[in-house]
Amino acid sequence: MAHAVSTVDAPKPWSGGDAPFNISWGKMMMWFFLVSDALTFSSLLIYYGATRNMNREFWPNPDEVYNHFPFVEGHIPLAFVSLMTFILIMSSVTMVLAVEAGHRFDKKGVVKWMYWTVIGGFLFLGSQAYEWYHFIHGTAEGKVIEHGLGVIHGANMIENEYGPKQFANLFFLITGFHGSHVFSGVLLNIIVLIMAARGVFHRRGHYEMVEKVGLYWHFVDLVWVFVFTFFYLI
């Protein structure tokens, strides 16, 4: 250790004025925001699991609840939500391609892939609206209440034809919370698309804003991967 004589004056990575993680302020704060948002989504999904354990014998089989597909008569379990998953994965891919184009300082590429990402986001939102419509309106047969109180069709916050009250409430809460994230993600994507098209990032010299919005958009995709598993597969 012949060289470690005057360690007092040596700059330390954590003593300030440096970026020890070699990551910019904005990107790091986006990661920390995503971590806190992940905790919110986790608590919602974990509560879903606990409630399901609480009502195991009443809990409906998801294959029999979400089994409609546009323009198709009859019941096809899982098909529509699989399509929604595919749309979101696809728009995640176009987002990565936009980030990659940004690394190469390729303005045309960024604009093209951001455009497709926005389209994917709108497709997903439309699919979710369709999903909610059918969940709320329910089947023609509905469910007959035992005490002669009539027939329930579909679902609202008080009663539903599928199973326990929390089944519909948690469906609305969790897919709705995720949908609002998708919505704000689409808005952010549109803003970044316009800024990229107007050459703001080109003048700035880097496309890091695309990366930050990309992180958020991938997080939305990530949450959907979990929602898909716990709501529709299991």
Binding site: D18, A19, P20, F21, N22, I23, S24, M28, W31, V35, A38, L39, S42, I46, Y47, G49, A50, T51, N53, M54, N55, R56, F58, D63, P77, L78, S82, T85, F86, I89, S92, V93, V96, L97, E100, A101, R104, F105, V144, I145, E146, E159, N160, G163, P164, K165, G205, H206, E208, E211, L215, H218, D221, L222, V225, F226, F228, T229, L233, I234
Partner: protein
């Protein structure tokens, strides 16, 4: 903002030539994600029609495949594998809390089910609108 902007991303100038895109890895991960999703949906659909394996077994398979997909999204698409180890661990600490929380709440749910089965009038507002 100057105060916090000690780290600057690599700056380009408009006259730099644009390199050719390198997108092979993006599509590779895409095919992984698609394949895992297809296997998941295929298993769920086949089991719905044929009932060849118990739902309990499938459940753990699905959770495993979901975590695999999450790994690909976070490490490849969100570029976490390019960040420093310390930053990865800072974010990964969350996972420990979550494992604890999941275990705790699953046990709690099963306990509450027992309570409900023994005292049907307890948690009456949680009973489904039909039956009970």
């Amino acid at each position: 903002m100057e105060l916090y902007d000690n780290f600057q991303p690599h700056l380009h100038s408009a006259s730099d030539p644009i390199p050719a895109p390198k997108t092979a890895w993006i599509w590779k991960i895409f095919w992984y994600l698609l394949a895992i999703t297809v296997v998941e949906v295929g298993l769920a659909f086949a089991n719905y029609e044929l009932h060849f394996v118990s739902k309990q077994v499938l459940k753990y398979l699905f959770i495993g495949m979901t975590l695999l997909k999450a790994y690909y999204i976070i490490f490849s698409y969100m570029h976490l594998k390019d960040e420093k180890k310390g930053f990865q661990l800072t974010l990964g600490f969350l996972l420990l809390l979550l494992i604890y929380f999941v275990t705790l709440m699953m046990i709690e749910g099963l306990y509450q089910e027992n309570v409900r089965l023994i005292f049907p009038s307890y948690l009456i507002s949680d009973a489904p609108a039909f039956g009970l």
